[in-house]
């Protein structure tokens, strides 16, 4: 059954014409390639036109950013026991020395506790980066890779390894996918998460090889069980000691393997090279990038090959995959192609994506220019909304899309916005409310510039705020806001603007971007 939305989608991957790049398009770009923007930022991009706007966002390394707190995290909280400690605890076990054993257990528990504190600090550190960075795409892509190569601290219980992995994602955020894949088979967090440190020459553990094929690079239907078994052999000996990657030669299976049609004494790097040589790999990553930045597409389980897809997404993903292959897996040219395409700005793609909890919170702070207030409260809310960063639910990452929103998370989503706007805590009482005052009136500056009278007209202000927050001003919402303003004095003040924002952020459409 053809649906109305599809008719509003163009297949054209040609560059969008500057004349077609207006307020709605610039706003869309800011949300999808970042975490939204203020009216001023939207107008700036409109003035620049699509080429300059997209390049500014993509070439973020030209934007200076003194990254906060690079060296604040302690690498040694979960360090492995020293040789001496190992001997002492073995001796205590041998002699059933309960006191010494209890001491070791206690030390371990203290370290675990300290590490839980540190991982919480890391969550807040990352959240702060996302809120304040002038290079939003860098953080958005770091979050994308975190969801793609999903690793949870809940399993590995080593915050520093999570940090090292996070920095790797950031360093290669719009870099080369191949580098990421070579990096991930050397990454202590991933090796621990998928048990490759337990893989032995004569007893290979298949976890890492399986997930590389199924979830990280190829997708179901593009490999066989035998390829997994052989891949696991290639990855034997890839492990880590403390915070360092180690290749254990004596634990590596040097025999001949046959993977996806290639054979030889393949090692981990050879395994990755074979995967990158598959057309399915460029297809798979392009599809995932498209799904994340443009529009939902059927997962690999439902449609293993891009050709199995339906609708305009198929042509778009094919173009992106060709771009990716031509660029030898560089990600930036792929994103450039997408962000400049007419397809990306199809009316049917605008405001159709459910904001992830991170996008909801960070996007509100950045686009409404309100205080972040309390990173701890925000971090707790992320957990309640189902996106605890550094703790994805499984190796599949977050399901995303509609699964973000149910009756429970909807109230959390609405209430965390009320907290950002007013300081009223989502739980608890006003006595503990955050007292920083938020003033949304500067948001009206762009409206005033264009039409000074409109900035004082409640009806026009309501429309303007709706277009900023929802990207559109549907009549039912505009009517409700106008009626509200009329019943409360019909004035444009700081308070009435906050009230308007409270109502808008509680609207179903506010969950979309």
């Amino acid at each position: 059954m053809p649906i109305a939305a599809e008719r509003r989608i163009t297949e054209s991957m040609s560059p969008i014409k500057p004349a077609a790049f207006g307020y709605a398009e610039a706003r869309h770009l800011l949300w999808r390639a970042g975490f939204g923007g203020t009216p001023n930022q939207i107008q700036t991009l409109v003035g620049w036109g699509p080429e300059k706007a997209v390049d500014y966002i993509l070439d973020y390394d030209k934007v200076a950013y003194d990254s906060p707190g690079e060296r604040q995290f302690d690498p040694d909280i979960m360090r492995p026991p020293t040789e001496e400690e190992r001997r002492a605890s073995a001796e205590a076990r041998r002699t059933a020395d309960e006191d010494t054993l209890a001491k070791f257990r206690q030390l371990r528990q203290m370290a675990e506790q300290e590490d839980r504190r540190q991982v919480r600090e890391m969550q807040k550190w990352w959240l702060k980066r996302m809120v304040e960075t002038p290079r939003p795409l860098e953080e958005k892509m770091t979050l994308f890779w975190h969801g793609h190569f999903a690793t949870s601290n809940r399993t590995i219980e080593n915050s520093y390894h999570m940090y090292v992995q996070n920095q790797m994602f950031r360093n290669h955020a719009v870099g080369n996918f191949g580098d990421l894949l070579f990096g991930i088979i050397r990454d202590p967090a991933m090796i621990a998460y998928l048990d490759n440190n337990d893989s032995r020459k004569n007893r290979p553990n298949e976890n890492l090889a399986r997930e590389i094929m199924e979830l990280f690079a190829l997708g179901i239907g593009n490999y066989s069980e035998r390829d997994i078994k052989e891949g696991a052999r290639a990855l034997t000996g890839y492990t880590f000691e403390d915070d360092r990657f180690v290749f254990q030669r004596n634990n590596h299976d040097t025999g001949t393997k046959s993977i996806l049609g290639s054979s030889g004494a393949i090692d981990g790097d050879g395994f990755v090279k074979i995967i990158l040589a598959q057309r399915a790999c460029a297809d798979f990553i392009s599809r995932k990038l498209y799904h994340h930045f443009a529009a939902e597409v059927a997962p690999a389980e439902a449609a293993p090959r891009v050709d199995d897809l339906q609708g305009p997404a198929r042509a778009a993903i094919r173009t992106l995959a060709s771009t990716m292959l031509a660029a030898r897996y560089e990600v930036k040219p792929v994103l450039r192609r997408l962000f400049l395409s007419e397809h990306f700005y199809s009316p049917g793609l605008l405001n159709e994506q459910v904001k992830s909890p991170v996008e909801l919170i960070v996007g509100a702070i950045r686009s409404l220019n309100c205080p972040a207030r309390d990173l701890g409260v925000l971090n707790d809310a992320l957990d309640l909304m189902g996106q605890s960063i550094l703790f994805p639910p499984s190796v599949k990452g977050w399901a995303g899309g509609r699964s973000w929103v149910n009756t429970s998370t909807l109230f959390v989503r609405q209430n965390i916005l009320a907290f950002l706007l007013t300081g009223k805590r989502p739980r608890g009482y006003d006595a503990t409310a955050d007292t920083q005052k938020y003033d949304p009136t500067p948001l009206l500056a762009e409206l005033e510039k264009a039409d000074p009278a409109a900035a004082k007209d409640p009806a026009k202000v309501a429309d303007y705020m709706l277009r900023l927050t929802l990207g559109q001003a549907p009549s039912h919402a505009a009517d409700a806001l106008r009626a509200f303003l009329a019943s409360t004095g019909n004035q444009v003040t700081r308070d009435s603007l906050i009230a308007v924002l409270l109502l808008i952020t509680a609207m179903p459409e506010y969950q979309l971007c």
């Binding site: 109305a4 209890a102 939902e296 459910v354 149910n406 009756t407 909807l410 409700a480 109502l503």
Partner: protein
């Protein structure tokens, strides 16, 4: 086939909706789905109109967080090894409450209210519950119990049960995640957890539980800021899907969810606003249990409720017949007793089974700080008039230890299987992804 968007209006929803509106992808599917659900229910009427039907049955889970000391809960007072291992923190033989039908085992004296229920035949105890290669991390072991999987991965076991009831799925990957489960009835969500966040155990692939610390927080907080806001908010939330919004769009899905949230919020808040019919003790667990009793009394269609009591990580100064651990056990038993008295006054007690567990027990020997460290097996308690009362299975030996720890005698998944098969009338093999001989904790009726 209608695509009239007003079909989603609140009026329509109230008259036709047995399912939550967000469950429906399109108008026709919404109506068909409802009709289908009703037909299925009618087809099952042969069994489901009998008393004690699965549809009427409720499972309440009480989680004791931190690792409850099983040996001071179900005390092996006839065992000299127990007293040797715990010179400072044992329960003296004369103070343990001996269980009839269980030689040498007794309850902690603070569990007197539980003892009374046991004597009435309303309590089943499974001693020595655990799993192979016990994990001593609170988080990992809790996840193992929640997922019923020793790798601690996958969806929650209760979530999988609710999924299988609603969507005919088990743990498998089939189905379309973008199609939310047809949640049963505008009578409330299928699972409610009292607490800050919803436990993993209740997270299904399709059906997600509702959770709130107090029902007061299960609502939009903006409404307290100005009364005029609430009026406008209600109007927006209750509009449902508005004209011009394609029925299958994400926007329409969000509009339906907003409407659902508003309806559930009202329903739940109204339910817990009712005064309980008995007096509850003043503990936090008692507060949670009285909320649950009120929701049951209000007739919510919720099948599973979840409550939590924390503080069981007694590494230091855990005490014996009195002290920290004793106090926690007292809170637990007092809340449970009041809960069943409340349910009995409502006439709902036979519909409710309560299962109590903790992520692990504690080591047999006390440590240097007059406490106990993380251990392994511990007893599970099942309460309610429909349990098969008494002791189920062997208490672990205190002579044959595994590196100072108890060896488990019953796999926790066998207890889950007993609950799924005997109480919820589900398929334990599919839900638990394995075959466990169900522990017969439920009366054959």
């Amino acid at each position: 086939m209608t695509t009239d968007p007003t079909a989603y209006s609140r009026r329509h929803f109230l008259f036709n909706g047995l399912m939550l509106a967000s469950a429906a992808a399109t108008v026709p599917a919404f109506l068909e789905g409802t009709a289908h659900a009703m037909t299925r229910r009618l087809l099952q009427a042969g069994t489901s109109s009998l008393p004690g039907v699965p549809d009427d049955r409720i499972l309440v889970v009480i989680q004791l967080s931190g690792g409850n000391d099983g040996l001071n809960t179900l005390v092996p007072f006839a065992s000299p090894e127990y007293y040797r291992a715990r010179p400072g923190i044992n329960i003296p033989e004369g103070q343990a409450l001996p269980l009839s039908g269980a030689d040498g085992l007794g309850l902690h004296p603070q569990l007197r209210p539980l003892m009374d229920m046991y004597d009435e035949g309303h309590v089943a105890i499974v001693p020595g519950v655990g799993y192979p290669n016990p994990n001593r991390s609170h988080f990992k072991s809790m996840d193992i119990w929640h997922t019923a999987d020793t790798t601690a991965t996958g969806d929650g076991w209760i979530g999988r049960y609710i999924d299988s009831e609603c969507c005919g799925t088990g743990k498998g990957e089939s189905g379309r995640p973008e199609t939310p489960a047809p949640q049963d009835a505008a009578g409330g969500p299928p699972g409610i957890a009292i607490g800050r966040s919803a436990p993993l155990a209740m997270q299904g692939r399709y059906v997600k539980p509702v959770s709130f610390e107090s029902a007061d927080l299960f609502r939009w907080s903006g409404e307290e800021i100005h009364p005029a806001l609430k009026e406008t908010y209600d109007k927006i939330a209750r509009t449902g899907v508005t004209e011009g919004v394609p029925a299958e769009s994400t926007a329409a899905y969000l509009m339906r969810t907003t409407l659902d949230a508003q309806v559930s919020s009202d329903l739940i808040r109204k339910a817990v606003a009712m005064r309980p019919q008995v007096a509850y003790p003043g503990s936090d667990l008692a507060r949670q249990m009285s909320m649950i009793a009120s929701m049951i009394r209000a007739g919510l269609k919720t099948r599973v409720y979840y409550a939590t009591l924390g503080g069981f990580d007694t590494h230091a100064g855990q005490g014996g017949p009195q002290g920290r651990h004793a106090q926690l056990l007292g809170q637990y038993a007092g809340a449970l007793r009041a809960f069943y008295a409340d349910l009995a006054a409502q006439g709902n007690d036979a519909r409710v089974l309560t299962m109590t567990f903790s992520e692990f027990g504690r080591r047999v020997s006390q440590n240097a700080s007059s406490g106990t460290d993380h251990g392994t097996a511990a007893p599970m308690v099942l309460a309610g008039p429909m349990v098969r009362p008494g002791l189920h299975g062997q208490h672990p030996s205190l002579r044959d230890l595994d590196d100072g720890d108890l060896r488990f005698t019953t796999d926790f998944r066998a207890v889950y299987a007993g609950i799924i098969e005997g109480w919820l009338k589900g398929d334990s093999k599919g839900i638990l992804e394995g075959t466990y001989r169900p522990v017969p904790v439920i009366r054959e009726s």
